[in-house]
């Protein structure tokens, strides 16, 4: 086991101001086990009294080696690892990976699977935003909202369990479609959830939006503008809160997002409150997309018929020798991808999620890389927190909604 490394001031000399070296300002360690850092983020703070002079994030406490591990697995077996990157958005991660594999190998996806994918991705966005809303309100001392949002989140988890048998890590979206068709109870469960959630969103807003304490803690705190967002590569609700309608679902639609009628909510302030408003309004838009998808859900297969990439249905294995051969080859050797590289973008609840896959002509990827929104958005934390109180820093960390599994990979 490695020894705990003590950080000495010499190593930090280039990161902190001169005043820290003379002892005029104080250096304070925050994390990695601090409950408000939403995971295992460690921050080194330079404080002048209670004012943050400098904030130095230290990441890597959740480095899991996922990308390297995925390179040694065939594409079907690498997919379950993508679930565990951004653990509040497993379906979105699966979707991005599958879209990239499909683009690399040229696999088609049937229309029913496309609509179901959109519906599930939006459900996952709702569940992620619910966790965000609960935990960041908890950081700002609004305890009851945590209990309410987790109550609604259980409904989404029940739907995910209904379709896949797992509450969080579903691996339900597969290259070429879905694992299997949804059960008959699915539609009624989703419709019921949409009705309940819409009413409950009003309840959350009644608790927070016009709450004087919440507004005092959030308006004008952690301000960033559109120009800075583009300079730092920041995406997602953070850039939309500065008035820029940047959303991959609109600028480069995937899985048929261009067929749905929805808006990209934007706010002008660029502060914590604007980010909160953007996310709450996004949840309403997600419900709108899910309702449209339910109305137009076509019948038909949910998996591509391309037997070189997609395993045959179970029923064929007893009658067709060819199906047995395909099934055996696909699950032992995997399918061969061309030695080309693809990049696929997706709008995760946190922003632009990109996956880069370079094939090597065999069944595994030569290099698989994730461009994750948490990693990019975390960069602006020093920028946002300078000049604010330590207590506001907690709100700022919550508002950029980082997931350390997504950041460290």
């Amino acid at each position: 086991m490695t020894e705990t490394q003590e950080i000495n001031l010499e190593e930090l000399r280039h990161l902190v101001s001169e005043r820290a070296l003379t002892g005029e300002t104080m250096l304070l360690n925050m994390g990695p086990q601090h409950p408000s850092t939403h995971g295992v983020l460690r921050l080194l703070l330079e404080l002048d009294g209670e004012i943050v002079v400098n904030c130095i994030p230290d990441i890597g406490y959740l480095h899991t080696g996922v990308e390297k591990n995925m390179e040694s697995k065939i594409f079907q077996k690498a997919e379950p690892m993508t679930d565990r990157l951004d653990y509040l958005n497993p379906i979105g991660n699966n979707l991005t990976f599958c879209l990239a594999v499909e683009k690399l190998c040229g696999i088609d996806v049937p229309p029913r699977a496309q609509v179901l994918r959109v519906m599930l991705a939006e459900l996952e966005r709702l569940s992620s935003h619910l966790v965000w809303l609960g935990t960041s309100a908890l950081d700002l001392a609004a305890m009851s909202l945590f209990l309410y949002t987790f109550r609604e989140r259980e409904m989404i988890l029940d739907i995910k369990e209904l379709i896949s048998g797992s509450r969080m890590m579903t691996t339900y979206i597969r290259p070429g479609g879905l694992w299997r068709d949804v059960p008959v109870e699915f539609e009624a469960a989703v419709r019921r959830y949409c009705d309940v959630q819409e009413a409950r969103l009003d309840e959350y807003e009644a608790l927070l939006t016009n709450n004087a304490l919440f507004r005092d803690r959030t308006i004008g705190i952690g301000v960033i503008n559109t120009q800075q967002c583009y300079e730092w590569g920041v995406t997602g609700p953070v850039i939309r809160a500065t008035g820029e309608p940047f959303d991959v679902r609109k600028i480069q639609p995937y899985s048929g997002y261009e067929e749905y009628d929805f808006e990209i909510p934007t706010e002008k302030g660029g502060d914590i409150f604007s980010r909160y408003m953007v996310r709450v309004r996004e949840m309403r838009q997600s419900i709108r997309i899910i309702r449209q998808a339910l109305d137009k859900l076509p019948f038909g297969p949910v998996r591509s018929n391309n037997r070189k990439f997609i395993p045959p249905p179970r029923s064929e294995l007893g009658t067709s020798m060819e199906a047995v051969i395909h099934h055996f080859k696909l699950w032992t050797e995997g399918f061969h991808a061309p030695a080309e590289s693809v990049y696929m973008m997706n709008e995760s609840p946190r922003g632009l999620l990109g996956v880069y896959i370079e094939g090597n002509g065999g069944p595994t990827g030569h290099r698989i890389h994730y461009h994750t929104p948490s990693f990019v958005n975390l960069q602006i934390l020093p920028l946002l927190s300078k000049g604010h109180f330590v207590a506001d820093l907690v709100g700022i960390i919550g508002s950029i909604d980082i997931i350390l599994g997504d950041c460290d990979r």
Partner: protein, 160 residues
Amino acid sequence: MGVEQKLGNMGIATTTLEQAVNWARTNSMWPMLFGLACCAIEMMAAEAANYDMSRFGMELMRASPRQSDLMIVAGRVSRKMAPVLRRLYDQMPDPKWVIAMGDCASTGGIFNNYAVVQGVDEIVPVNVYVAGCPPRPEALVHGILILQEKVRSEHLSQWR
């Protein structure tokens, strides 16, 4: 405790010191508010209204190791996190217990690679392992009940 029948309603119950202390330890165990990865979300779900861990005397999560009795290692432990985890464990006052929640904390799970500690029992002694990736909140509650069972049956000579 058959003596109260003889004493009537004098308001006195007799027990052994062992039983009384174990009973107190079991029902006021404060877990440490400390999540690592995916399992932490399920731990939060177990804390929230639907599963409500406060039914088992566990609602009071402490952010400071100095005030907590139970460490729930919820998630994968990377090599960088391992020394921190050990330091947190050392800072907890006795008596203390550890639950390894999930496959990653128990055995390394699907991450059999350079970055992840292959089971948190390499670093700290573990009392209960909870399987699942991530375990359902019911599974965590079951793990906690097993731990309470263990604590209840501890003997005076084993006390720390």
